[in-house]
Amino acid sequence: MAGKVFAVVVVLVTLVTAYCVVTHVWWMPVDISVHGPKIDHQIEETILVAGLLFIAGQIVLASFVFRYGGATGKPKQIPGGAKPLVIFAFVLVGTEVLALSFIGSKAWGAVYFEAPDPSSLRIDVQAGQFAYYFRYSGPDGKFGPLHPELINEGNQNYFGLDPDHDPDAKDDIVTAEIGIPVNKPILLTLHSKDVGHSFYVRELRVQQDFVPGLSIPVHFTAIQTGRYEIVCTQLCGLGHYNMKAYLSVLSQSDFDDWLKKQAAMQ
């Protein structure tokens, strides 16, 4: 009895899980990046491969428990013993994981090993407890150097810029939201002023930690306008849950206007 109940429960759980995954009850938001389809494709591929293993494993478990629960008489081993099982694991699972790592590396390489487009718009991102700040280089195309000792939230010097002494810093535009033009390659430089943070935009399929002390480059191209949430996914302290900013993907003309407006507010 217990065995039959167990089998039924396992099958039910498997079917419900599979149903939820297949019908996308809760699912990834639509991708808005150029590289995203590769990642989405990889996830689909993995769902197929892993999902089949999941269903097969649970169903075989359930059916054996159902069939042999409370059986009597002389027990027997599966014909052939363990050898076919080991061969199965090596050949089938081995092929699967080889394929996944091969295709997966290509998806990963497409994101991380491709050099950023030289015409990219460069934006400097600084994360701190518990906000992001973004910096555009302004008309001169150059970022002023950073002076951590000058960082002062009170007078809104979030980056530690010294416009009085550094000419490059004079026209830098610092914003609390990030606006980017659509269909233009973007190169972010991530750095943190205090602890580890992360830059995660679900729709962009981008997640990258900020490492205190390092500048981490991230590049992507957004292909759809809209306003998207940036959230921090690296535990950064008591305000972690509330650390977020918005990414606005704008048409080129909207972006130019927006940036002008931001420059005027400096």
Partner: protein
């Protein structure tokens, strides 16, 4: 239990003197103005040689059953070998640092 019959005290003294000589060679190397990584490589090789001699003779593994050798060396070298995986990030720390 195990016995030390295989080595006499004077051969131990010889090993001790040999190890000290290797240390002297290390010191001489240090003052040859080699490139740091060449020096590091040379020093590490010599240190590993010393450790090997020490473990095999002073600590007597050579005269124990081979399984002892095959237990301690693979386990230790496995851990130390794979810890090398963290060095690429040390170079990242050098090359991608925020503050020059």
């Amino acid at each position: 239990m195990s016995s030390n019959r295989e080595l006499t005290m004077s051969s131990y003294v010889g090993i001790g003197v040999g190890l000290m000589l290797i240390v002297c060679v290390e010191v001489i190397f240090t003052y040859q103005h080699m490139a740091p990584h060449t020096l590091l490589f040379a020093l590490l090789c010599l240190a590993c040689l010393e450790a090997y001699v020490g473990v095999m003779y002073l600590m007597h593994v050579k005269y124990e059953r081979p399984i002892l050798f095959w237990t301690i060396f693979p386990a230790t070298l496995f851990v130390l070998g794979f810890l090398c995986y963290l060095f690429p990030d040390a170079f990242r720390m050098l090359n991608m640092r925020l503050m020059k």
